[in-house]
């Protein structure tokens, strides 16, 4: 186990870790309070919903699929809650309805992908647009706010010490999904299917059931993240979380998860989350705007695949010259 961990450090995770250290050191030079509890909590809070969804997306991409609909499910769930609340439903029930909408979205995605066999790229693109549509139908161009104090407090204030509910959920999910992916039967099957779907089928793995489970779980997590986002903002709009899917997928791919499935791990994604959070924060400290931050992360994403390819090409050419 320890040997395996060390082997990993020499690979992609090691690179991310080195990058992280550099970023943190530079940031600390900028601001002595950088590693203060307040700043760290703040760091997480700003992107917390995205990184929660990214954890589940990791499993989907390792399984060789993609879920583009997550951000729209976040928006839909928040809008279902807001709409029911506005219609007079007590907030806890409204939240339950929101979670149910997430289950429904997951079942729809999973049905078409796992049982009909349509490509997940196309199905979840339809979901991306369609679920956003449901959100818009419900809330239209209003902003629905005025939730009970406890709801806003859940999203904004520390629940255990300085840790907010969202951060606690993130940490818990990181632990649970780490266990599932690297210790449980489901995680094992996720890798096997992502590596080679046919070999999994020939070993009697119930491929459809695994895919269905993942897409339902992905939508449920997205629905939960949508509620947390609503609680943090204190108001719900139809375009909530719009465009988040690209950031979420970027986090996962930067974490060393192959877009073709089968490889990657949660540790890498965890590091990628830290790199992106600290990078954004650091660039913020250096007065670099949000959009430049996004382009730096975009460049990192391309480089994460390009660099190994170039290294390999050089290696092959070099070897060719020697012989």
């Amino acid at each position: 186990m320890i040997a395996a961990a060390f082997a990993r450090l020499r690979g992609w995770e090691g690179l991310l870790l080195a990058l992280l250290v550099v970023i943190v050191v530079v940031n600390m030079a900028h601001s002595p309070y950088y590693l203060g509890v307040g700043n760290i909590i703040n760091l997480f809070q700003l992107e917390i919903e995205k990184i929660i969804v990214a954890l589940m997306m990791t499993l989907i991409i390792i399984n060789g699929e993609i879920d583009l609909s997550v951000a729209s499910v976040m928006g839909m769930s928040a809008c279902v809650m807001a709409w029911s609340f506005r219609a007079g439903v007590p907030l806890p029930w409204a939240m339950l309805a929101a979670m149910a909408s997430g289950v429904a979205a997951g079942l729809i995605n999973g049905f078409w992908i796992a049982y009909v066999g349509l490509p997940s790229l196309a199905v979840t693109l339809a979901g991306l647009i369609g679920y956003r549509g449901v959100a818009r139908i419900l809330v239209q161009d209003r902003a629905i706010g005025d939730y009970p104090g406890w709801f806003n407090a859940l999203g904004q204030q520390g629940l255990v010490g300085p840790l907010t509910l969202s951060i606690i959920i993130f940490l818990a999910m990181f632990a649970v999904l780490g266990l599932v992916l690297h210790g449980a039967a489901l995680g094992r099957l996720v890798y096997v299917i992502g590596n080679n779907l046919q070999a999994a089928r020939y070993s009697g793995v119930r491929v459809r059931r695994v895919k269905m489970t993942l897409f339902v779980a992905s939508a449920v997590v997205a629905a939960l993240a949508g509620l947390l986002y609503a609680a943090r903002l204190g108001s719900v709009r139809g375009d909530m979380a719009q465009g988040f899917e690209l950031d979420i997928i970027t986090i996962v791919l930067l974490g060393g998860v192959s877009i073709f499935g089968g490889s990657g791990n949660l540790l890498g994604v965890g590091l990628s989350i830290l790199v992106i959070l600290n990078l954004r924060n650091g660039m913020g400290l250096a007065d670099i705007t949000g959009n430049t931050q996004t382009s730096v992360i975009g460049a990192l994403l391309i480089l994460s695949v390009l660099a190994p390819n170039i290294a390999q090409a050089i290696h092959i050419r070099w070897k060719g010259r020697e012989t």
Binding site: L179, A184, A185, A199, Y202, S203, G262
Partner: protein, 519 residues
């Protein structure tokens, strides 16, 4: 294009002049010697047949002639000039084209465009009307009625083959290689194809014709070459060859170290299959299997043996016939159902279907029965998993530093043992082994044979699908021979020898009468 054709005709070599010379071609893939010192001459206006068992090196030779592979050693001459091919496209420019059993068409393009896709002189703008007309002309000259406007997707294999041939003709080929072009054609289509081959021969094209159908080879070929184990065994004019002699050349493999397995004591009847079939794959297969028996499935690639295995394991369920297992009639629709019935199927394609290569040995071994290794939390008990893997590592002598390393790092023989372990761990009553020793070295092969013998002795019923004739003969209690989706014969241990099995597999009537199932 017409102009180019004329040019080529004008400097075309005299009839029967050597068109393509291969000299001392050698090719290795890792540990496998695919070709060794092969010298072969294809002459203009002659059809040269190539015979050989699966794995004799025919495919490698074709790939070298078409520029897909480059030889390690040796040279090629085209019409007397040295020829070096870096790619298939280059071979095509030199007038060397190949037609494969599975045509390489563009499914979304129409027939005419598929024919002319690689033409250099197609011009910047496509004149569809002219292209359709020329495609129709070429197809008509082949006697093929095919809508040149329909996309290649959805064409029958025979129709696709016609398109490939039309493509070769339109390119004015000098050397045409046909790799089992008749494997999926009906007799009418074969007759048509042969008419075409004769036309090409008239036009001084040198043709290499690879086929498993002996009667076809003797109908069409001018010369017959036999390959075995990467070597050229014989080249003779057809008049000097008889089917018996060709078969003898093909199978003249030494039994070598293969010791016939001492037959185990047979138990009660385990499996009874009657009239099993799957549309488009195989039909009317009937046999019985007793506990402790090894039933060999012999035949050439594409004979439908694997399809029978896949039907029994529920991957591609049968569409007709009945299966009785342990006295109970069963229908098998999924691998999980098959596993629950005590059936295991070890795939012929270790790398793509049998194993998950990047994953560890232990992971692969426990995959089909992972639920046995979970604790109350649903987590995999890695200690227990490793214990199982270690047990198999000792029992089957899997040579590896650890059971935690990726299967991809193992040799073929050890990978095969991992696959055996994986299925033995499901405690099967019926074990279907598809090509259990393909691509593994001699030592590992002997070990796998010993393991199979032990398993039979333990009372497992074994179906062994193998293209390695000596292996089938040494290991099996009985041999079922298939050819083109049909069961040709079930031979007893005493009645089976290399000649009789190969003759049945190639549809030669010189063998004993094909019998149905023994009733």
């Amino acid at each position: 294009m017409e102009g180019a054709a004329v040019d080529r005709r004008s400097d075309a070599p005299a009839v029967n002049a050597p068109m393509l010379n291969l000299r001392d071609i050698t090719k290795r893939f890792g540990a496998t010697q695919a070709l060794e010192g092969v010298s072969l001459t294809l002459r203009a206006g002659r059809v040269h047949a190539l015979l050989g068992e699966n794995g004799a090196g025919k495919s490698t030779l074709i790939k070298i002639m078409t520029g897909v592979h480059q030889p390690d050693h040796g040279e090629m001459l085209l019409a007397g000039r040295p020829l070096r091919l870096a790619s298939a496209a280059e071979a095509q420019r030199h007038g060397i084209a190949a037609i494969y059993q599975e045509p390489l068409l563009f499914p979304d393009l129409n027939v005419a465009e598929n024919i002319f896709i690689s033409h250099q002189d197609r011009g910047a703008v496509t004149n569809w009307r002219q292209m359709f007309r020329r495609a129709e002309e070429i197809l008509a000259s082949l006697g093929v009625a095919l809508d040149v406007r329909s996309p290649a997707r959805g064409l029958t294999l025979a129709a696709q083959q016609s398109v490939e041939i039309a493509k070769a003709i339109s390119l004015n080929v000098r050397v045409l290689i046909m790799d089992e072009p008749t494997a999926s054609l009906s007799s009418h289509e074969v007759a048509q194809l042969f008419k075409l081959v004769r036309d090409l021969r008239e036009k001084d094209v040198a043709i290499l014709f690879v086929s498993h159908r002996m009667e076809e080879v003797f109908e069409i070929a001018d010369d017959v070459t036999v390959f075995r184990d990467g070597r050229l065994i014989s080249t003779r004019p057809r008049a000097e060859v008889t089917p018996q002699r060709a078969i003898a050349d093909m199978v003249g493999r030494e039994m070598g170290l293969l010791q016939p397995r001492s037959p185990a004591k047979l138990g009660e009847k385990l499996l009874s299959v009657r009239g099993l079939g799957r549309d488009g794959a195989f039909e009317d297969v009937s046999f019985d299997l007793r506990r402790g028996e090894v039933l060999g499935f012999a035949g050439l690639i594409g004979a439908g043996r694997t399809d029978v295995g896949l039907a029994l394991f529920g991957i591609e369920p049968a569409t007709s016939g009945q299966i009785v297992l342990d006295g109970r009639a069963v229908t098998i629709r999924s691998p999980r159902q098959a596993m629950a019935l005590g059936i295991a199927y070890s795939s012929e394609d270790r790398r793509q279907l049998g194993l998950s290569l990047p994953m560890s040995i232990a992971t692969n071994i426990t995959l089909p029965v992972l639920s046995r290794y979970l604790n109350w939390l649903g987590l995999v008990r890695t200690g227990m998993e490793r214990a199982t893997a270690e047990a198999f590592r000792r029992r089957l002598a899997i040579r590896t530093p650890s059971v935690d390393i990726a299967v991809s790092k193992l040799s073929g023989g050890n990978q095969q043992k991992v696959m055996l372990s994986k299925w033995l761990n499901t405690h099967p009553a019926l074990l279907i082994l598809d090509e259990p020793t393909r691509g593994i070295d001699v030592g590992a092969k002997a070990e796998v044979h010993a393991i199979i013998g032990e398993l039979a002795a333990e009372g497992i019923g074994i179906i062994m699908i193998s293209s390695d004739l000596p292996e089938v003969l040494a290991m099996s209690d009985r041999v079922l021979v298939m050819r083109e989706g049909r069961q040709m014969a079930v031979l007893d241990r005493d009645g089976a020898d290399q000649e009789s099995v190969m003759a049945a597999a190639m549809g030669q009537s010189t063998a004993r009468q094909p019998s149905g199932a023994e009733a």
